[in-house]
């Protein structure tokens, strides 16, 4: 961590000095965020409000007709949580496109998946989970990537040196589980720890109405098992080694999108198991003769350790997401997403609302709400309900 903190400013300076000498295409945002927690925490983070400032800037330069470099620094400064105050290179990537293939080297970001709730097959990047409750924010991953598009499919191969530990809210962070996750005490199965080299492979293909993919991964699991440390009373992230294979498919039939991601995991330190997310997205276009579109999303998440009575830290062992997405299709691109994740075994619901609207031409306002309801006695998120307002300036 400390070495990285020393290296990053140097890399940034290198990037900036190169920037001075050439034409960089720059885009990004500066975002102010305010959060309000409706109840006092039942942990040490005893504040009800928080403000923070973040910025992500993407610098792009084409070096030749076929080569380019992309540098995307990100930072956040947080009033309350020192774990949330952080810097990262989302990308620091050299990219070359050849006649029939392309390759990348550096820090990069990759998305795999078709589902809306959880992307089980999205294994390349670590989540920057201090950023938000869902898993959409990711830490830059060191990679060498080769890609080729063939008649029979698109093929991607990754060598992933350098593992990134997941970020978690600190003692003063909110929302967080009642038990602190002690990121300074992370454990690894591999003796190489964060230097273990991982490999990933995917082949995907569009077959008419179907988009299908097949992938394999071997290396350090991005999602750690959380182990209770009886000495400190904290949770310790344990990063085990795993082999994963999986398939993903989406069928697009008019207003229906049918989706599935299925993975099988074998590991020495956790139970071999399978996980599934499957469901649909259906869109009503121009409801009631207006310009408004309504999308309905339903997805079922399942982990077969549930069935076999094997304990795990996967919160989505048998859960259902129902989402309603409204797009107003107005000048301000207003939209709203209402979601409910229900634990089908009776362990409560998570309610969320996300709404966005452009103000003028360069500012976007976003409102987020998250509520944990009907939680069991020992819930880790009992008093963590919150509202969040963001104003993002784009350039």
């Amino acid at each position: 961590m400390t070495l990285k903190m020393q290296l990053l400013p140097l890399l940034a300076m290198a990037a900036i000095s190169t920037a001075a000498s050439a034409e960089w295409d720059i885009r990004g945002n500066v975002t102010g965020q305010a959060q309000y927690f409706t109840e006092n925490a039942n942990h040490t983070g005893d504040h009800k409000s928080n403000v923070s400032l973040s910025s992500e800037i993407e610098l792009y330069q084409s070096l030749t007709d076929s080569t380019s470099i992309t540098v995307t620094p990100f930072f956040r400064i947080d009033q309350q949580d020192e774990e949330r105050t952080h810097f990262d290179f989302r990308e620091f990537l050299f990219h070359q496109v050849r006649e029939n293939w392309e390759w990348k080297i550096g820090l990069g970001k990759v998305f795999w998946g078709v589902a809306e709730s959880v992307n089980l097959i999205d294994v390349i990047n670590q989540r920057d989970s201090v950023e938000n409750g869902d898993s959409s924010e990711k830490l830059g991953q060191a990679m060498i990537n080769v890609f080729t598009s063939r008649e029979w499919g698109d093929v991607e191969f990754y060598i992933l040196p350098g593992f990134r530990e997941r970020s978690f809210p600190g003692e003063d962070g909110r929302p967080r589980p009642s038990l602190v996750i002690d990121t300074n005490d992370a454990r690894f199965e591999s003796d190489d720890k964060e230097h273990h080299i991982d490999f990933a492979f995917r082949v995907s293909k569009t077959l008419g109405d179907w988009d299908v993919g097949l992938h394999a991964f071997t290396g350090t699991a991005r999602t750690p098992e959380l182990v209770f440390n009886t000495n400190t009373g904290k949770l310790i992230p344990f990063y085990y080694q795993k082999n994963q294979v999986g398939i993903d498919a989406q069928a697009t039939f008019e207003s229906w999108l049918l989706k599935a991601e299925i993975i099988g995991i074998t590991a020495d330190r956790i139970e071999n198991h399978a996980e599934l997310v499957t469901g649909f997205e259906y869109s009503f276009y121009g409801i009631a003769e207006s310009d408004i579109d309504l999308g309905v999303v339903a997805e079922w998440l399942y982990d077969d350790r549930k069935n076999n009575n094997v304990p795990s830290t996967n919160p989505f062992q048998n859960d259902l997401l129902i989402g309603l997405r409204f797009a107003l299709n107005d000048e301000q691109s207003s939209d709203a997403l209402l979601g409910v994740i229900t634990d089908l075994d009776g362990d409560g619901e998570i309610l969320s609302l996300e709404a966005n609207r452009r103000i003028g031409s360069k500012v976007k306002a976003s409102l987020d709400m998250r509520y944990w309801v009907n939680q069991p006695e020992n819930s880790q998120f009992a008093n963590e309900d919150y509202l969040q307002l963001e104003l993002a300036y784009f350039f």
Partner: protein, 265 residues
């Protein structure tokens, strides 16, 4: 080719003593298709084009908002074109891109690229009548125009802006259109569209599109520099200005597959 067949059919009908009205109707259908085909053929062989599009949305009170995007189109002989739009403005959607493989009869294939997530998402192409980027242009107005997507009826001759025009009525043959019919005003000399009147699902006048600032490229291909769409019902309008038109830039199929979205800039 189709025209010849239909003319033969018309001759046969006359020979068998069909009623005068049905012959006229058949002749007008044939003539409509003939004109639509001629307009389409005028554009044959463009291979590929790139252009920049500046869109100005004007609301009822005259307040304006701007959109900017780049368009790329690849001609696919015998099928609908492949096209890509890359958004540059407003800033919050910068880098978002859409890819469409359009087809004459079967459903189009469509993908959306979301740059913040680096996600390519296959989306439904059913949304024909919805507004494109909050503008007065519907998705079906800006998608690739194929002859087979409509049925035609020749309405007669007229004049528009000093040019002699053919008026033809076209009815969408594809599903989920927001229109019952369109009336196209086609310049007789250049065989290009000058004006389109749109009628909504209740057959009430909905929008009027006018094309102007035409320029000819490679001594063959006419492109309008300015498109203005006026919504008669909401009084809102959208102005599109095209610039930097380039032809035969060397784009290939590989630049129009879903993985190409990820390497756009």
């Amino acid at each position: 080719m189709k025209l010849t067949k239909l003319s033969t059919a018309a001759t046969l009908l006359i020979a068998f003593g069909a009623t005068a009205t049905s012959i006229t109707a058949l002749a007008n259908t044939a003539r409509g298709l003939e004109i639509a085909t001629a307009v389409d053929e005028q554009n044959d062989g463009f291979v590929d084009t790139t252009s920049t599009m500046q869109m100005t949305l004007v609301n009822r009170s005259g307040k304006k908002s701007e959109r900017k995007m780049r368009a790329r189109t690849l001609e696919v002989p015998g099928d609908g074109d492949k096209s890509m739009s890359i958004f540059d403005q407003p800033a919050d959607v910068q880098g978002t891109a859409s890819l469409t493989h359009s087809h004459a009869v079967k459903a189009d294939e469509q993908w959306l690229y979301l740059p913040a997530l680096k996600r390519v998402k296959r989306i439904s192409s059913k949304n024909k009548s919805g507004p494109f980027m909050g503008s007065e242009f519907a998705f079906e107005d800006i998608s690739s125009q194929e002859v087979n997507k409509y049925t035609y009826e020749y309405l007669g001759e007229d004049e528009f802006d000093g040019s002699k025009v053919f008026k033809i009525e076209s009815k969408p043959a594809y599903k989920h259109s927001g229109y019952t019919r369109l009336i196209n005003w086609i310049d007789q000399e250049r065989m290009i569209s000058l004006k389109v009147e749109y009628f909504d699902r209740k057959n009430a006048p909905l929008k009027i599109l006018t094309f102007s600032d035409h320029q000819q490229y490679l001594d063959k291909f006419w492109r309008a520099g300015t498109l203005e769409m006026i919504n008669l019902q909401t009084k809102k309008s959208t102005l599109i200005k095209f610039s930097d038109y380039q032809f035969k830039t060397g784009l290939t199929d590989k630049d129009f597959n879903s993985s190409a979205l990820k390497r756009l800039r």
